[in-house]
Amino acid sequence: MNARTARMHAWLCLAAAMGLATWAALTFLEFSTVNARESPDPWAIARQVERFAPLRSELPPNSIVEYYTDIPYSRDSGGVAAFFGACYALAPHLLVYQPKTIKPELVVGSFLKRPDLVQLEQEQGLVLVKNYGRGLMLFRRKGN
């Protein structure tokens, strides 16, 4: 391959590579634009932070609180995201789910459906302390 052909070959290859790289960059730009418009914050973390803010500020400093919910703890149901979102929103308080070693006195309830408070008290020993609205409640464990 003489110098001119080699130069042409290099230019063509680099031009093709730049075309593909530009395509990739523009695809990413399109993805982020669509994402921002159609599904911003897919796990609703900003909403969780706002929802939990009043409860977070009323808890005693550095509390360990248990998490109680009617959402199944699985990725598909969104239960895992809801739990970690609640952890993040309540930090630096420590939120624990079905702990084996401790039974925290305070329990945070996060519900999709209106819970039966009488049943919760009888079956789980949870006494309502405050209802914060939007399915968020603080309970105290009976017997503590």
Partner: protein, 491 residues
Amino acid sequence: MAFIPFMLAVLAGCLLVSSAALTSGLRPRPFALLLELSIGAGLGAGISSCLYFLMLASGLAGRGSILLANLFFLALAALLYWKTRPADVPPTDEAPPTKISRPSLVFAALVVILCLLPVAIGNLQLTASNPHGLWDAWAIWNLRAKYLAGEGEAWRYALSPLLDKTHPDYPLLLSGFVAQSWRFAGGDFSTSVPIAAGFMFSAAVIAILASVLALQRSLGLAAAALMVLLSDQQFLTHLGGQLSDIPLGFFYLSSIATVLLMESTAEPGRAMAALAGTLAALAAWTKDEGIVFALVFLVCFAALQFWRGGVTRLRRTVPWSLAGALPVLALVGIFKLVVAPPTNPLTSQQAGEAATRVFSANRVWMLIKSLWAFSTERGAGVAQPWLVLALVVAGLGFLKSPPLKKVIVFGWVVLGLLFGGYCAAILANPTLLGNPWVAPFDRMFSQLWPSFILVFFMTLRSPDEFFQKAPVAVQPERIRKRKRQARRAPG
């Protein structure tokens, strides 16, 4: 207010890198400065994070002590800079000015406009729509940063075994650096801090790759490397995701780049060796994978020194790299062995079980299939990063005798062993392989991608060779006449 310790740490890091005279005499100077700034920013963040953890552990992490510690760090860096700078750096006029050709400039400008700009805008949009970051950012790194920034003893929650669903044993570089600023701001968990930290590491990775290649080889090659780097969609998504994978990739890249620059000087400075050691060790403070990297890097660095200059060179540089690495590695060692709960399923199993998993043919086949799937699904349709890379290689070709051949071999060995370590860890881990919700391959590629490109591009010919006009042979008038006659002649 939150950004005062942040900025102090970054400034201190930049002074430390400057005092190591990493780029002395290298041209073009703007790239040398960009490189020092980029490595310095990450170095400062890393050291500051270590200091913050020590303050937390000793019960001294108040606002005043955070400010004092970072001021002390800055003063120390300034002192080192003042002591070493004039002696190490030759006057800048000694180096011949580097001429950048016009086509190179146009090529680089096109890459910036067509590739870098859309990526930057895209990442700003992703950040604006996900201010708390991607899943791992709010479920692991920023969550733990909130504990570390909490009042009193709340920081211990970041290491609590009760956090077993979110890796309380992970190292704390990114979380600690963010937490320090949050704590300094009086517990205001503003998302601007992790966003700024994430963007700082992302920008630094891009800048280091471009500036090392521009300084060592040519601007055209640097632009071609950026083109390949930015064609990986997963990597681009991680850039603004506030994850620890980009900082980890930063420490891999910056330590290899430091060795590359160090070995291109006739007399490698001790400060450079110490810098390389510190950067590698900070990888271990960033994520578990970094521990493997730090160990592999230090062993390979010693081997490289021996290969290049025998025992004399080994004795001159290796103690300094260890001096840079050991304080951070000691902190990581104490953290992993004493402080952090043993919740990692990889390390809490019997050696026999792990070996059985590693040597299971089924699992190896699953690993190969996963690697193939993840490595071929990183682009946008036909715009796959491997295809972009293949086109660049087809166009430029490899150098017959690349400069710094031994350092390039060093880079390949480090990355190869690290990749082998990743594969062994994935095979041995009972929870990773086959779990659709866990993405070790996705993250692994993002961590290794910038370093791989740096080492790979050091072996390629530069586009600048092809940008220069090919010499046009001046044919004597007689030959041209003869040719014209021959064309006119019948038959």
